[in-house]
């Protein structure tokens, strides 16, 4: 019933081909091409920096530029993956209606092509870290593991949204609203320490809080700030949610994928 890993492995070439196709199509007719995966986060970073370090002053332990990028890049990966994936089955209707291949390759490729963008945009973060003399410490060895949990978490949700949108087209619009609310409920542009009490408890239940904080903890923090959630609680929250969403997402996708052709 659940996502078969054999399908994913057997069709890894197809997933890669779809991934490169997504990237090619995205940048094919634009002048800046790949540079856009640097330009967009750079501009967003500048906007947030101006707002939150000059207009509303938010106190963070690091230069705000580095702090916000460290949350913004993972968030952008997550949000654009879901936007792309929710539309992916519909966009590939022509392919799905006419040729057979495991459908699961499509949402996975949507996420992977955004992962490539994340990889490119990380250059920006590392550049600013170098500029501010923030050198990575031993924790950076855990960075691949953070990416992995984030990737699987995103794939789980991508499976869920990409399959359901075929049947409820409204979900695309609903997703945009969900993402906006989710963005402000995640400590991307503000630190966890800003909140306290009930609000903080709710914030800590959010899987994206755990993931964003994991990025910061492996890339920036020497030691965790005293009022931050502990390492073990971050990892635990991230993995539990990841498994929950992967199970739900692949179950829903498996149940619905046979009906795609007749709905498209």
């Amino acid at each position: 019933m659940f996502l078969t890993f054999r399908d994913v492995w057997n069709y890894r070439h197809l997933i890669l081909t779809f991934t490169t196709r997504n990237l090619k199509l995205k940048y094919k007719s634009s002048i800046f091409g790949f540079l856009w995966s640097l330009i967009t986060p750079l501009l967003m970073m500048m906007v947030y920096t101006v707002v939150f370090s000059y207009i509303i002053r938010i106190q963070v332990d690091f230069p705000y530029v580095v702090f916000v990028l460290c949350g913004l890049l993972p968030w952008t990966f997550f949000a654009s993956s879901l936007s792309l994936a929710s539309n992916a089955i519909l966009e590939n209707a022509n392919l799905i209606k006419k040729v057979f291949f495991p459908r699961v390759t499509i949402p996975i490729a949507s996420v992977l092509s955004n992962l490539v963008n994340l990889g490119v945009s990380l250059i920006l973060l590392f550049g600013f870290m170098g500029y501010y003399d923030i050198l990575p410490n031993i924790h950076i060895t855990l960075f691949p593991l953070v990416i992995l949990v984030h990737l699987i978490f995103t794939i789980g949700l991508a499976l869920f949204f990409s399959s359901l949108t075929v049947f409820f087209r409204d979900l695309q619009h609903i997703l945009e609203i969900i993402l906006t609310i989710w963005f402000y409920s995640t400590p991307v542009i503000y630190p966890v320490s800003l909140l306290s009490g009930k609000l903080r408890a709710v914030l800590l239940l959010n899987p994206m809080t755990a993931i964003v904080e994991l990025y910061r903890s492996v890339l920036l923090y020497q030691t965790l700030p005293p009022d931050n959630p502990s390492w073990s609680s971050l990892w635990l929250t991230a993995w539990i949610w990841t498994i929950v969403f992967l199970v739900i997402g692949s179950y829903v996708f498996r149940r619905l994928e046979h009906r795609f052709v007749r709905e498209l």
Binding site: N10, Y11, H13, L14, L16, T17, F18, R21, K24, L25, K28, N94, L95, I96, K97, K98, V99, F100, F101, F167, F168, R169, D170, L171, H258, V261, R262
Partner: protein, 410 residues
């Protein structure tokens, strides 16, 4: 068995647009109601294909052929019944199905290969053969949205036959493309047959099915109407179509006769029956282009009539008058008639193009001024495609072409 269908049934839902909206879906869920109609696109279809066989699927549009192919290709799952296939299935379901318009021909080769489960290295090895077969070397790095439909088809066919499938499914694709490419496609198909590969061939071109396939299945409204040797299945199919169309024509024929608006004359001689047959004497109202058509006119002369003139005419359904021969102009003099008699008009290798025509039959006196009995366009018949290549106008006249390379010296 490389392919086995057992009692395969597929049900389609017909939605009205608004029912897809969340509001309606939720409402219907709450009410526990389903507001859609259903129909069976395939109804308990069973057949099996042996390895090395070339198997044909025929049927009219909407008979479920496409749905069956989608099931075989794995795109649709049957609602009931089972389907088993062995090995790699390569399906050419439509012109360049699965091509991405914005990607180049080369990129699409890799995409299609990956869809069929090949690795990049595998495809790279076959790339040259594919490009050579498609004859698209000059265009392979151009986005396929700029391709003509013929180029699309060439590339699609080239990929499908080069991925080394165990079962090759070909649907109607040979209808486009120029003569020489069609020829090479058939050569490739024959090469597949020689290699003992299994081919599933779907086509409206009964001639091609007859030529290529050993066995065939005929689908009608989602059900198997006939299954067996190609000859038998095609004969069944042809016979049934003819019967249906003859029936339709008889109905119109009768309706026209009932009205009898278009009949006049003094009735000293009465035309009692006008019937169409083929050269074997079989009564028919539908003929293939180039077939011999025989019209049998029966009459009854109530008095002795000297030198009557029998005539006929053919009109196209839009009123174009095609011809109007009679026994006088043909110098076929009939001295006198009395009582019953019959007249046969033979049109050898009728050169009308496909369409519906109306036939008039008349009998006049020698001056052709006095009508005894005039049946104006009372008898419809149709001509269907029987291998003509011409489609313009209403008749195919014998023509001879001559071509010279040098311009005329004036």
């Amino acid at each position: 068995m490389i392919l086995e269908c057992k009692e395969v049934s597929v049900q389609y839902r017909v939605y009205r647009e608004k029912e897809r909206l969340l509001r309606w879906t939720l409402l219907n869920l709450l009410r526990g109601r389903h507001h859609h109609e259903t129909f069976w696109a395939l109804d308990r279809v069973s057949f099996a294909v042996k390895p090395g066989e070339t198997f044909g699927i025929i049927g009219e549009n909407g008979s479920g052929k496409s749905t069956l192919l989608k099931i075989i290709a794995g795109i649709v799952k049957p609602d009931r019944g089972t389907i088993t296939t062995r090995g790699r299935v390569s399906a050419i379901l439509e012109l360049g199905a699965g091509f991405q318009p914005d990607l180049t021909g080369r990129e699409n080769v890799f995409l299609n290969g990956a869809i069929m489960g090949l690795s990049r290295a595998d495809i790279a090895r076959k790339l040259d053969d594919i490009i050579a077969f498609s004859e698209l070397d000059a265009f392979i790095d151009m986005p396929v949205k700029f391709y003509s439909s013929g180029m699309y088809m060439r590339l699609g066919f080239a990929i499908a036959v080069h991925v080394d499938p165990d079962l090759l499914v070909i649907d109607e694709v040979l209808a486009v493309g120029d003569e020489s490419f069609q020829h090479r496609c058939f050569e490739k198909i024959n090469e597949f047959k020689r290699k003992g590969k299994t081919i599933l061939f779907v086509s409206h071109d009964l001639g091609a099915v007859r030529k290529l396939c050993q066995r065939a299945v005929w689908l009608q409204r989602g059900k198997v109407a006939a299954l067996g040797s190609t000859e038998k299945v095609i004969d069944h199919y042809r016979g049934q179509i003819q019967e249906q169309q003859n029936k339709d024509l008889e109905v119109t024929h009768q309706a026209i006769l009932d009205e009898v608006k278009e009949r006049w004359g003094t009735r000293e001689v009465e035309l009692t029956s006008v019937a169409f047959t083929d050269d074997k004497g079989q009564e028919r109202y539908q003929f293939l282009t180039g077939e011999t058509v025989v019209v049998l006119i029966e009459y009854f002369a109530h008095i002795r009539v000297h030198q009557p003139v029998f005539g006929t005419a053919i009109y196209r359904s839009d009123g174009v008058h095609i011809n109007g021969p009679n026994t006088k102009t043909a110098n076929h003099l009939i001295a006198s008639i009395e009582g019953p008699g019959r007249l046969r008009q033979i049109m050898p290798h009728i050169q009308l193009l496909p369409g519906t025509y109306y036939f008039s039959a008349v009998v006049y006196d020698y001056s052709c001024k006095h009508p005894y009995d005039h049946h104006e366009r009372l008898y419809p018949f149709t001509i269907i495609e029987g291998g003509t290549r011409e489609h313009e106008g209403c008749v195919q006249l014998p023509v001879i072409w001559q071509h010279e390379d040098t311009p005329l010296q004036l």
